[in-house]
Symmetry: C2
Subunit: 214 residues, 2 copies
DNA sequence: CACATCGGATAGTGCCGCTAACCAACGCGT
DNA sequence: ACGCGTTGGTTAGCGGCACTATCCGATGTG
């Protein structure tokens, strides 16, 4: 298909598609001649994924490019691709001011990880961007005056562990041979909005039950 | 305290504080005379909350204003304040293209809510922004080619229900009289990054256990 | 062979979250 | 009483980001 058809079938304007091509989010089509390029179904699928990452996952274009770079990195095995792609996903900005709150937060997070015995991530520690962002967020909560401690997070951690186990089960079940890595990224990025929405819906439901009003 | 001190103790530049005052995110200080205004501890706390909403929660300034407006709305009771504030929290943009994917998504979400018996939110249906955003996100997943169905979401929904119950327990325990509504909003907004981080950490941990590599 | 269409390149737009610069009023030390 | 540094408010501008409008020469098409 040509660019115009790609645009029509995806609902993305040709100008935007050109922008994505320019930014390297979308691999170039097969150049037929100087004025015509041919795109495949694969391009359409990739374009939908890009839109999902950017619109639903709210991932910056530059980051999306990086993530997709890992997805396309054939030098990595399946697991590594997934890991590298997830690693590249954006985290809350780290003010990195090493004050008392951050110290306290780090201590509590460490205690939490010890308590639930997540030894793999404990070994990685600050190397993992996710770990750092968790510390930062907890530090913010502490600064706001929450008397935060690891014990209160333990049940949440256990629940999220269950969720993560289901995530991986899901991936294993649904992976087709064709686009394994893309699926993994899509699942990682698009599951979060689903979880977030379910979380808020659950809050509405629970609140309505307890207090009668929403 | 004066603006300069408010700036120093919060780590936010005076220019930015002035900006927040202008935008109505921060109530004006007590005007002593034409060139001096006096701010209280309350302003410091509110300022920290604003920063948390914007930086950690990534909430747009205009939305944060709206949310805080509900928090300050004394015509509402506690529960209503919380509800209104949560209601105003931003959702993924809704393309609102009522195509086959959206229809299918709506059907699956309805089935899900029936299955887990969240009758309160079911009654509200499309009225709730959260409900709409869930439908939109699921529609995106469907468009990407996931053969999505309600059954697969059920365990997630149950888990998030447990999480939500804990959220509300937490609120009930920790609420001090002084800043109930602010705490509720902070919890709602700042809990999500914590959950997200725990989720990803759990994925790393689980993946490391299953496949040995992260 | 006229003409619409194609894809690529470039420069511009609109929004958003600040931020630098300015200003008159004030308060404090001498 | 007076000079001068500081205060809080106002205005205009900046930088980044995600597009987007426009132009262009090459090309396929009736």
């Amino acid at each position: 298909m040509r660019l115009a058809e790609l645009s029509e079938r995806s609902g993305v304007s040709t100008a935007t598609i050109k922008y994505y091509l320019r930014e390297g989010l979308l691999p170039p089509g097969r150049q037929v001649n100087a004025t015509t390029a041919e795109y495949e179904e694969e391009h359409l699928r990739r374009l939908r994924l890009v839109r999902a990452l950017i619109q639903v996952g709210r991932i910056p274009v530059a980051t999306a490019k990086e993530v997709l770079g890992h997805v396309d990195d054939e030098s990595l095995g399946r697991t590594m691709r997934l890991g590298a792609a997830l690693w590249a996903l954006p985290q809350p900005p780290e003010p990195a001011e090493d004050d008392a709150a951050v110290t306290a937060a780090r201590r509590e997070v460490d205690r939490l990880l010890a308590e639930v015995r997540w030894d793999s991530v404990r070994e990685l520690g600050d190397l993992s961007p996710v770990h750092r962002s968790l510390v930062t967020t907890v530090a913010t909560l502490i600064r706001l005056g929450y008397d935060w401690n690891a014990e209160e997070l333990v049940p949440y951690a256990r629940l999220m562990r269950e969720v993560a186990a289901r995530d991986l089960d899901f991936l294993e079940t649904h992976e087709s041979d064709a686009e394994k890595a893309e699926m993994a990224v899509a699942a990682a990025v698009l599951f979060e909005p689903v979880l977030r929405a379910l979380h808020r819906l659950a809050q509405e439901e629970e609140s309505a039950r307890r207090y009668g009003i929403v």
